[in-house]
């Protein structure tokens, strides 16, 4: 029982990361029908913003050395600028393009970001020590939990509550939800398209920055490809959860986290190295039974 609870907390903290990244992807998909492969590289960029640009193996902290109440907004602002620039330079001109074109454009953009980071910071992964005092364990009854996992889960909850308050209670939030529901109708009703889309990019930038901070403090390393696997799992999570639905992105994120942790824990020893094969088989099976995801977004159901 204790073992299971321990695994459950692992699953929650891994799922939190997927859910946060998934929200960033799902938000843009809902409004733009853009599957943003560059999101993973936004995350990478946020993580590298913490250190001084150099080719050295040992990372020297720059923004990463500041107190957290300064660090969070500055990193967030940097990633937001990156996200807005991407919209301005690339996606704004592709509003009418087909889904594959958008997808490849976002991939190309991510490729540019990755290789720029590679050029500036070098190819070798760098060690960075962020909030290592959070590695201490907290004992709750018989459960021993690293503080960091609690912080991750807590931060995710705070961000999700914040986002849902923003979407539910503010005028801009309502505009965004309207745009996600029916973009053309929303424009007829006087919603400024580029503003709403810019807002979505900005929020997805903030989410990417927070994902980056939590992820770096868990892994303690930086590499120019670090965002890619996270983005892939998050992307799968949004599809499993229901593309276009934000609740779906969160549910999907936790579901993927749960399945990977539980398979890792409970698969027989000699099958454990094949864990990913099992995770992705589960993905295909879920899709076969729920092709539009666990939570169906209304706007995506084709009406005939």
């Amino acid at each position: 029982m204790i073992g299971f609870l321990q695994n459950l907390i692992d699953a929650l903290s891994l799922g939190s990361l997927y859910a946060l990244a998934g929200l960033g992807i799902g938000l843009l998909f809902g409004i733009l029908r853009l599957t943003n492969f560059a999101h993973g590289d936004f995350i990478t960029f946020g993580a590298y913003a913490l250190i001084v640009p150099s080719l050295d193996v040992m990372a020297t902290k720059f923004i990463g050395g500041w107190p957290w109440y300064l660090m969070l907004p500055v990193v967030a602002a940097l990633v937001v600028v990156m996200a807005l620039l991407s919209d301005l330079l690339v996606f704004r001109k592709l509003r009418q393009a087909s889904a594959p074109t958008l997808m490849i454009a976002s991939f190309a953009l991510g490729y540019i970001i990755q290789n720029t980071i590679l050029m500036v910071y070098g190819a070798r992964p760098k060690a960075i020590d962020m909030w290592s005092n959070l590695q201490q364990q907290v004992t709750i009854g018989e459960l021993r939990v690293p503080q960091l996992q609690l912080v991750t889960i807590g931060a995710t909850v705070v961000l999700m509550v914040g986002l849902s308050l923003f979407l539910g209670r503010t005028s801009y939030g309502v505009q965004m939800r309207a745009a996600a529901e029916d973009f053309r109708m929303a424009r007829y009703l006087g919603i400024k398209a580029n503003f709403v889309i810019g807002l979505a990019f900005a929020i997805s930038g903030v989410l990417a920055a927070m994902t980056a901070l939590l992820f770096v403090s868990q892994t303690g390393t930086l590499s120019h490809m670090m965002g890619v696997p996270l983005m892939l799992f998050a992307f799968i999570a949004t599809v499993i959860g229901g593309m276009g639905s934000l609740v779906g992105a969160v549910v999907g994120g936790f579901a993927v986290g749960f399945v990977s942790v539980m398979l890792q824990a409970y698969l027989p020893e000699d099958l454990r190295s094949f864990r990913d094969a099992f995770v992705f088989t589960v993905v295909i099976v879920v899709l076969l039974f729920r092709p539009s995801g666990l939570i169906r977004a209304k706007a995506l159901v084709q009406r005939v």
């Binding site: 029908r33 599957t35 690339v90 001109k93 592709l94 009418q96 393009a97 087909s98 889904a99 594959p100 074109t101 997808m103 490849i104 454009a105 991939f107 190309a108 953009l109 490729y111 540019i112 990755q114 290789n115 720029t116 590679l118 050029m119 890619v228 892939l232 992307f235 799968i236 599809v239 499993i240 593309m243 190295s273 094949f274 864990r275 990913d276 094969a277 992705f280 088989t281 993905v283 295909i284 899709l287 076969l288 092709p291 539009s292 995801g293 084709q302 005939v304």
Partner: protein, 358 residues
Amino acid sequence: MNDGRLMRFAREWWPVVSLGLGLVLIVGVVGQLGGDQTRVTLTEMLIRMVVVIATYLFIGNSGILSFGHVGFMCIGAYAAGWATCNPAWKQLMLTGLPVFLREEEYPFLLAVAGGGALAALVALIVGFAIMRLSGIAASIATFAFLAIVNSVYSNWDSVTAGTSSIIGIPQVVGPWEALAFVLLSMVVAFVFQKSRYGLMLKASRDDEVAAKASAVDIVKVRLIAFVASAFLVGMGGALYGHFLGVLTVDIFYMGLTFITLSMLVVGGIGSLFGAVVGVLAVTLVVEVLRACEAGITVGGTKIALPQGAQEIGLGVIMVLILLFRPAGLTRSREVPWPFVRRGAKPAGEPAEQAQPAE
């Protein structure tokens, strides 16, 4: 009369004939003039062209973006590698192989066909499930397939040598061998897209509901395209193995998936012409940038782009192409028939769709 029929035939097959002649010319000239390094680049490009054309056969006609095709490439490459690599090494390292593969050595062509066949068989099984899905769910399912192949092949040590590599595969593929397979896959793709099944599949791409209402068995036509395309991709993978001489699992993953998909999208996702042009264009850009990175000597001073500029440049150029030609360089059209007289009666060809539906 006979003449007219010949003309019609020539016109009907023009998209393939023109591309084929063009490629023969390119391979002839570049292969003659260039050195060894050029021939290697040329061969790799042609092998990628086999894969991109085969991928087009499925994606272009069905409208489903597949991330899984490189998985079939992996399957084909390994199957062919098992058949041709040195038996002494196989018996030592790949103890899990069935006896007929472990003990014997097979000729190259048989190995390539075997690679294609195994890929097609897997496609039939997987496709039976995945082809029921549409749109983004289908794309993700194909990606999941790629991830499964990657996970299985990098951990099934007794058959695939795990994360270490299969070595000693004869390097028999040069530009002309690769070109032969390019021509073969062009013909297959062209025959398919003109066939009854090809038309039904395109109908399902453009309007799934209407196609269903017109009694198109969507799962079946998709599955036919998926299996045919997996067969060709599997052969492309087998060629790749016999070009590199060494196989590792990691070359068949995200990087190759995206470079092949980018080639297709840059060229134009909805036509054979697009697939070929995309491969040529992206390869050309990469080679020019690589040359610039190595440095060009102008009047005694060497000008070179900084290391890493090649990748960034490729990304920038891809974005630019997509911004200015969102439907691809060819706008997804086939090679137009150049001998149209004014007032000539147009042939009864159905016009190509400019854009596949999502």
